[in-house]
């Protein structure tokens, strides 16, 4: 528990959170670190407004944006795969944006996130700089038991642990499985945890996540940090599945526009003497099938099972001077704004 109190900013007449620094905080490096955090452009990161100093000008605390409501520790687990992915997505996205800016959060856990009044997930409590000379305990692993990746328990030759963004990915995995089950799996509570833990498996959840999603989430809990996916990959896979059945492709062919979507999932396109193919929507992607003749997609030989990228031109027929026909395909979908 950190010491924090809801206060009113009397200038702007709005609530703020005034938080005392945690014990062992390296005050000399604190401001530099807070300044570096300001560069993160993410709607999921809580805003720091000001610092509180004592009479000697020494920083004692931080003034932050106040987020109403409870953190995610005791959130009731969502009952459907869709709602579960809607919960995971903004967490993954927020952490990915933190990583994009070269930061490691270092204390990702259910207690450090909340949904604000507009339903926007906010992540707070970065594991800020610690004074490494203060006492031996701070040289050891930092973080919260259960959320700490196994590599954090391995000291290097200098007695300190080294880590990468993969510790946040691991902590995300623990956060996600705990949110899905409502409690943290016992198998993850060991110090260090024994992996893989039988009760921390995204494949066996009652919400029945799509297998591709469950597999990727299980990789977040890999013992080997290099085997864990990037946080941005996880966010992307989740957003793809959140849009299941909602994609649309506009196909421009000989001056006409055809729309493919969940209700009209396939179109056969052909020009005699040039080539033919079928474009089919599988709920997640648009794929090419029945490719015959000379068919190139964005200048690449087309094949059965080829995935249509966001936007492309398909050419039927041999290159100039033969007759060719261009087909444009533009894929779009509602924007995931979670």
């Amino acid at each position: 528990m950190s010491d924090a109190a809801k206060c009113i900013d009397t200038h702007l007449d709005r609530p703020v959170l005034v938080k005392a620094l945690k014990e062992g905080t390296d005050k000399k490096r604190l401001l530099d670190e807070i300044r570096a955090l300001q560069k993160i452009r993410s709607k999921h990161v809580v805003q720091i407004y000001d610092v509180v100093r004592d009479e000697d000008g020494e920083i004692q605390g931080l003034v932050e944006e106040y987020i109403e409501g409870a953190d995610l520790t005791y959130l009731n687990p969502p009952t459907t795969a869709e709602d579960l992915m809607k919960l995971f997505y903004p967490i993954a996205k927020g952490i990915a944006e933190i990583h994009d800016h070269g930061h490691i959060h270092r204390d990702v856990k259910r207690q450090n996130m909340k949904f604000d009044g507009e339903g926007c997930l906010k992540i707070f409590d970065f594991g800020l700089a610690r004074d490494e000379t203060a006492d031996a305990s701070t040289i050891g692993p930092i973080g919260t038991p259960g959320y700490m990746a196994p590599e954090l328990f391995v000291a290097g030759t200098n007695g300190k642990t080294s880590f990468t963004t993969a510790i946040d990915v691991y902590a995300f995995g623990v956060t996600a499985i705990s949110l899905a089950r409502g409690t943290m799996p016992n198998g993850l509570k060991g110090i260090p945890p024994k992996l893989p833990a039988a009760d921390a498996d995204f494949n066996g959840l009652p919400q029945s996540l799509p297998p591709a999603v469950a597999t990727l989430l299980n990789q977040c809990l890999a013992a080997d940090p290099t085997a864990r996916p990037k946080m941005s990959e996880v966010a992307e896979e989740l957003s793809l599945h959140l849009l299941h059945g909602q994609h649309r492709a506009f196909v421009g062919f000989s001056g006409r526009l055809y729309v493919l979507d969940a209700t009209h999932p396939a179109a056969d396109l052909s020009v005699a003497g040039q080539g033919a193919l079928r474009v089919r929507y599988d709920g997640l992607r648009f794929l090419l099938e029945n490719v015959t003749g000379h068919v190139a997609l964005n200048n690449q030989q087309a094949f059965n099972g080829m995935v249509v990228p966001g936007s492309c031109v398909i050419m039927l027929g041999l290159p100039y001077p033969s007759a060719r026909t261009a087909i444009t395909i533009d894929v779009s979908h509602p924007e995931v704004t979670l």
């Binding site: 926007c120 936007s311 779009s332």
Partner: protein, 359 residues
């Protein structure tokens, strides 16, 4: 251009170092400043006249209640002395949408307008949830991150409108002379809901919905739906939209343009109750299908033949485009500057859509 109140190097409230003047409207001067404490760039807004200061404080309090990614964040309020007060706001790198329209893009493609519409509706919904009415939604009060690339949009000046209200009310009641004398009123008029023209005091949430609809019509067509100047008054009161420009019926763009227009029409209902609420508007916008991929600037190399050509950008491979992907035109000349989204391709990447910048 310089501000009247400050010059680069001034320090405000022991914390904010003025870096330069950004611009001004009828009510305030806006400066770029560095927050020396947190080491980040902020926008500093100062009221132009002292009589406005008390209302300025109220406006700061109002805008601070809204917290949403599509609303410029209020960070601080500095009361230096009784003659100097400042609102400190998140600095948004880019341009406001009225500058984008004026300097870069005469009109925007449906893909980006759909995204702008959706995001502004969300920002507006957050403000309406907080009980805050904007009252002065117009392109100059929407900041576009990265200007013509429109990476993000954020509504600003929530509070300031309440101040402008009195000036506009006076102008609207005083007829042609005072209306044209007030820059603020002239800027706001094309987006003003009919009930506001009748009585400024009746500004309520549906008025914001109207303004957003009027604004998105302009973004999509390049045309102010009810014209500008005093003529707009009778056109607004009649509530009749001009015909839809034909270049928007180009097949690749038509379906989305149609979707947007139908939502715009719902916003521009004379009857306040007939307009969607902000929450309903968000639901309508959520159905828009558009690519949200980042855009970049480029220059057209050449059209290889009547059907396709290539674009060169600052970085990355050359980019192939088909003429059907050009917004509002059927061809592009070499040397023309464009904004586009890149998709990976073999040899060259592929662009969609391709939107021409002003010459």
């Amino acid at each position: 251009m310089n501000g009247n109140l400050h010059k680069a190097g001034d320090i405000i409230g022991d914390r904010y170092l003025v870096l330069g003047f950004i611009g001004q409207g009828g009510m305030q001067e806006v400066y770029q400043a560095e927050d020396k404490l947190l080491g980040k760039i902020v926008a500093l807004k100062a009221p132009k006249n002292l009589s406005a200061q008390k209302r300025f404080k109220r406006s700061a309090v109002v805008s601070a209640k809204v917290n949403h990614p599509n609303v410029a964040k209020t960070l601080d309020y500095v009361d230096v002395d009784e003659n100097h007060a400042y609102l400190v706001e998140e600095y948004i790198p880019g341009k406001d949408l009225s500058r984008v329209l004026r300097e870069d893009l005469p009109l925007l493609d449906p893909q980006i307008v759909a995204r702008i519409f959706h995001h502004l509706a969300r920002g507006l919904a957050a403000s309406h949830h907080a009980g805050v009415i904007h009252r002065d939604l117009k392109p100059s009060n929407v900041m576009s991150v990265d200007g013509a690339l429109v990476s993000d949009v954020k509504i600003t000046d929530f509070g300031i409108a309440k101040m402008a209200e009195e000036e506009i009310a006076e102008a609207a009641e005083g007829g042609e002379e005072s209306l044209t004398a007030s820059q603020t009123a002239i800027g706001a008029l094309p987006y003003m809901a009919p009930e506001i023209i009748s009585s400024m005091k009746s500004a309520d949430k549906p008025a914001d919905i109207w303004s957003l609809g009027a604004m998105c019509f302009e973004l999509l067509t390049g045309i102010k739906p009810f014209g500008a100047g005093l003529k707009a008054v009778s056109a607004i009161q009649a509530g009749k939209l001009p015909p839809f420009p034909t270049e928007l019926s180009k097949s690749q763009f038509a379906p989305l343009a149609k979707d947007i227009l139908s939502v715009v029409q719902k916003c521009l209902q004379l009857e306040q109750k007939a307009r969607p609420t902000a929450d309903e508007l968000v639901k309508l916008c959520e159905t828009f299908c558009y690519p949200a991929n980042p855009r970049e600037f480029g220059v057209v190399d050449s059209m290889r033949n009547a059907f396709f050509g290539f674009i060169t950008a600052a970085a990355g491979k050359s980019v192939f485009f088909h003429r059907d992907s050009i917004f509002g035109a059927n061809t592009a000349a070499s040397g023309e500057r464009v904004v586009f989204t890149r998709y990976p391709g073999e040899g060259s990447d592929r662009a969609f859509p391709v939107v021409k910048l002003r010459k």
